[in-house]
């Protein structure tokens, strides 16, 4: 079958992308597989200036998942473009920049800079990070703020597709999706991590220095599927689904409820060649199930 998918003009060789924050700047994975094989990769969230992130410890185990409070440590957009982007095979796989900023105007400046860089295929706007004190998830929890950020980014990003990444930490994710699509988002991606906590009864301490972190991994897959399903009913733009994908069957589940592509996050920590293997497994499963086209299969859940 033709594995290609199209997200608002962005053509991917297959629907498997890697999720921001779990695949570094891509270069870290060159020892583990051919980056060209991936449909796309979303790099670590970038801010205008480098950020140091949160204190340690930043990660903890959770049943069938993990918690993180990295706090968007990153080398800054300029360093990424100058020092990392050229090391990526961006002619052969889509490199998507994930954006983080503290205000709508800062988001716009960042979008303006990144959208001009050769090698970046799309922007993913992170209005959903639960691990930073200013901005972060707040933008993603208020429809009018989310719309304002989306509009500001769209205004300054020219032709480049803008994907807005949604948080599950809201009561009605479909209305958030509608708000950003009405404001011009070309696509939406979901879900970011669920706000969560882990504590130690013996030491009486939280397991993360930040106390609260984001839950990811298989534990959140049912929540993610529900969110993608609800959003697919509410908007007409392509959806990139993620949350707990650890198998080719999981990928199909997301496409079945309406996703056009998927991102693999925490599973990259199960083994660093995970996403590369998933591309092959997906092709094999599609064959086995006799799926003939993504257009027929997408959203074909029988309820």
């Amino acid at each position: 079958m033709d594995m290609r998918v199209n997200i608002a003009g962005l053509e991917l060789s297959n629907p498997v992308m890697t999720a921001s924050g779990t695949f570094g700047y891509g270069v870290e994975f060159k020892r583990y597989g051919q980056l060209e094989k991936l449909g796309g990769m979303v790099v670590k969230g970038l801010s205008l200036e480098p950020r140091a992130g949160n204190p340690m410890p930043r990660i903890a185990d959770a049943p069938a998942g993990m918690l993180n409070a990295i706090g968007l440590q990153n080398i800054g957009a300029r360093n990424f473009v100058e020092k990392r982007l050229k090391l990526l095979p961006w002619g052969e796989t889509a490199v998507v920049a994930n954006l983080y900023a503290c205000s709508a105007s800062e988001f716009a400046d960042l979008a303006a800079y990144l959208s001009e860089q050769e090698g970046i295929a799309a922007l993913e706007v992170n209005i959903s990070c639960p691990n930073v004190s200013s901005g972060g998830v707040l933008f993603g929890q208020d429809p009018s703020m989310a719309a304002a950020v989306t509009r500001a980014v769209k205004d300054r990003s020219g032709e480049m597709p803008v994907i807005v990444k949604l948080t599950p930490n809201v009561t009605d994710i479909a209305s958030m999706a509608k708000a950003v699509v009405d404001a011009g988002a070309d696509a939406v991606s979901l879900i970011n991590t669920l706000s969560a906590m882990s504590v130690d009864a013996r030491t009486r301490k939280p397991r993360l220095a930040n106390v609260i972190g984001g839950l990811s991994g298989p534990a959140i897959k049912p929540v993610a599927l529900r969110c993608v399903w609800q959003v697919a009913q509410a908007v007409d733009v392509p959806i990139i689904g993620m949350g707990g994908i650890t198998s080719a069957e999981d990928v199909l589940e997301f496409i079945l409820v309406g996703a056009t592509a998927v991102q693999v996050g925490t599973a990259n920590f199960i083994r660093p060649d995970f996403a590369f293997r998933l591309v092959d497994e997906l092709a094999a499963l599609v064959d086995e199930l006799g799926i003939e086209s993504w257009d027929d299969y997408r959203g074909s859940l029988q309820v």
Partner: protein, 266 residues
């Protein structure tokens, strides 16, 4: 040539040390060598580590676990030496020969080797794991002095393996006074290597903090191997960082695990 540094292998053997004698379990786990597709295995050096994830982890725990490479040899296999701490190491301890394990590495940097330099090797507890091979490979073992501080009995640590190559002293801590004596020994010995010697250390954080403090006081530099909690092991998640004095937070897995003591904050 392209080679995937993440490989599937199987358990070759498990050897338990000092069982019944100490608190906790100490195990040498040997995995079948995955072959030299990954040429880095030919060049591995003591101080480097691997991420290990047996299939039996299932989804819980989800993250692999980092361990120093104790030895790696195409015929003998790849060995790690670990102490049972929690859910991950408990699952490792119950592996049987033939069970599947995913292994990625060798990862990180290694301890410096200066053949003609007096070298102080400081090991605290399971922190001895990278040093068996370090002392064995050293070209001038007469320049080495290894000091090993431990709480569980010596039988837990396969101590024979360290013996016979260089000067090795073990200090058993059974009470508070033993600890004070051990700290005094470090405070007295480290300065002797601060001018033109080399100090390398691996062990629990308070142990490394003491070494750093003494080295800093005497204007010396020691190499410390850090054991931060890790998820990816490859520098991607930024979960394992330590504070580098000039560069801010850096990944321990990718930039370390071995750092010069005066370059980092503990």
């Amino acid at each position: 040539m392209f080679g995937n540094a993440c490989q599937d292998t199987t358990v070759k053997s498990l050897t338990r040390f000092g069982k019944g004698e100490g608190d906790g379990e100490f195990i040498e786990l040997t995995l079948e060598h995955p072959g030299l597709d990954n040429a880095a295995w030919k060049l591995w050096k003591p101080g480097q580590f691997v991420m290990v994830r047996p299939e039996s982890f299932g989804l819980d725990p989800l993250m692999g676990r980092p361990f120093s490479i104790t030895s790696a040899d195409e015929e003998q296999g790849i060995s790690i030496f670990f102490q049972v701490m929690g859910q991950g190491t408990r699952k490792l301890a119950s592996l049987k020969p033939g069970e599947p394990v995913t292994l990625w590495g060798p990862l990180g940097n290694a301890f410096a080797v200066r053949k003609d330099t007096p070298t102080l090797v400081l090991a605290g507890g399971i922190g001895i794991a990278p040093f068996y091979e370090y002392v064995k490979r050293h070209e001038q073992p007469e320049n080495l002095r290894m000091i090993f501080g431990h709480r569980p009995p010596l039988a837990c640590y396969n101590w024979e393996r360290a013996q016979g190559v260089c000067s090795c002293e073990a200090h058993h801590e059974t009470c508070r006074q033993d600890l004070m004596d051990f700290i005094a020994l470090i405070e007295e010995t480290v300065p002797q290597y601060c001018n033109d010697g080399l100090i390398i250390a691996c062990g629990p954080l308070p142990f490394l903090e003491t070494i750093k403090k003494v080295a800093d006081q005497h204007g010396g530099r020691a190499q410390l191997s850090l054991e931060n909690r890790m998820a990816c092991g490859v520098g991607a998640c930024l979960g394992c960082v330590c504070d580098h004095k000039t560069e801010g937070p850096v990944s321990v897995c990718a930039r370390g695990p071995v750092f010069w003591s005066d370059e980092i904050e503990l």
